[in-house]
């Protein structure tokens, strides 16, 4: 287990993930914390592994559909065998918050679904206070490794 057992009690945790396998393992650990209504906001540059992590979460939750990047559609919906809907957002191309209005963003973020949000910095003021923030950073000279910072706002 990469994510410590104490994670639920902590508000902040910092990890180094040395390989894609460790990143996948971290995502599996994280998926075990996610209950209906959970919001996870991902932050990181292009290619840092946000979509990869979300794919691992969805695989662990055995979604019926394969997770793919919703770069052009803004949102994908997946379903778990337990009838939980997972909404996967990618706001990289979001230009105006009226697009969020047309999406009915509050219905998603404050609903009973799990929301996984890429480029969450674009919708910062719309995010609920209770959420996980996950920052993914490159590590110099280690292309496979990532520095992860997790903020658990549910514990506050």
């Amino acid at each position: 287990m990469i994510l410590k057992q104490t994670f639920l009690k902590n508000s902040k945790e910092k990890l180094t993930l040395n390989s894609p396998e460790e990143t996948a393992s971290f995502a599996r650990d994280l998926s075990k914390q996610l209950e209906p209504g959970a919001v996870v906001a991902f932050y990181g540059e292009l290619g840092s592994g946000k979509t990869f992590m979300i794919k691992q979460i969805c695989a662990e939750m055995e979604t019926i559909e394969n997770a793919t990047s919703p770069s052009f559609t803004l949102i994908n919906e997946y379903h778990t065998p337990q009838q939980v809907s997972i909404y996967h957002f990618d706001f990289y191309r979001l230009k105006n918050d009226s697009e969020l209005a047309n999406l009915g963003i509050d219905d998603f973020l404050y609903g009973d679904n799990i929301c996984l949000v890429e480029w969450a910095d674009k919708i910062q003021k719309f995010l609920p206070q209770k959420r996980y923030d996950i920052f993914i950073k490159f590590i110099e000279d280690k292309p496979e490794a990532r520095q992860i910072e997790i903020y658990n706002h549910y514990s506050q």
Partner: protein, 231 residues
């Protein structure tokens, strides 16, 4: 038609509520509720609203052509829910060439409590520590709204509540606790968890009689929150 051959002359209104947890359809004739069907639940509106409409018309033996108008609970509330309600209303209104009458959902929450001695604040969760609200008072048997429809941060609520105020609306338990902490003058009305179709239709009937119809092509849900900023 039908059970009542005079319904064309009567003011027969179909009420639609889809702004929040309540998914409801009601029908009234000359301001008397004939029937209502409603359930509380998330994500049921797309499945149930049209089915309820068909079912209620069938059960009271009224045809779509016999309707005089459609009363819509206009929000604020769920973006998706409101759009479903508006789509259904506009579809029927276009087909039957009848008017749409929009009623603020906040008005319905306050009105359905009936006459009260204290002022009433209707509240709907706007998220991010904010609420949509409006304040009402019964004066000489008349129901009056005494403030605009507004948004306020919860921590600023005490500025609005200067006297004993009955709070009603779509208020999750967590939000209720927050409001309770801010103001000791806020008294929660706990008995009502469902928007009353009877009250929606009564308020709609008043507007119908006054000819307060909405433009069928331009009317849209009363979201209250403006999204305009460039990111």
């Amino acid at each position: 038609m039908t059970q009542d051959t005079n319904s064309k002359k009567k003011k027969v209104l179909l009420g639609i509520e889809s702004s929040g947890m309540t998914c409801g359809i009601g029908i009234s004739a000359d301001n008397r509720l004939l029937k209502e069907i409603s359930v509380n639940g998330k994500n049921v509106h797309s499945e149930k609203l049209a089915v309820f409409t068909e079912s209620i018309l069938h059960s009271v033996k009224i045809e779509v052509e016999d309707l005089s108008g459609i009363v819509l609970s206009a929000g604020p509330g769920s973006f998706t829910g409101l759009r479903i309600g508006y789509s259904l209303a506009k579809g029927i209104a276009h087909r039957s060439k009848i008017p749409i009458i929009e009623v603020s959902t906040l008005d319905v929450w306050a009105y359905q409590l009936g006459e009260q001695n204290s002022q009433i604040m209707a509240v709907i969760d706007a998220y991010r520590n904010e609420i949509f609200y409006s304040i009402y008072r019964w004066e000489q048997n008349q129901f009056r709204r005494i403030t605009d429809y507004s948004i306020v941060r919860i921590e600023e609520l005490d500025k609005l509540i200067a006297e004993r105020t009955l709070i009603t609306g779509a208020i999750p338990a967590e939000l209720k606790a927050e409001i309770g902490k801010i103001s000791s003058l806020a008294i929660f009305e706990n008995g009502t968890t469902r928007l009353s179709m009877k009250s929606l239709l009564e308020l709609g009937h008043k507007k119908f009689v006054m000819g307060e119809f909405s433009d069928l092509n331009d009317c849209e849900p009363f979201y209250m929150r403006k999204f305009k900023g460039v990111l």
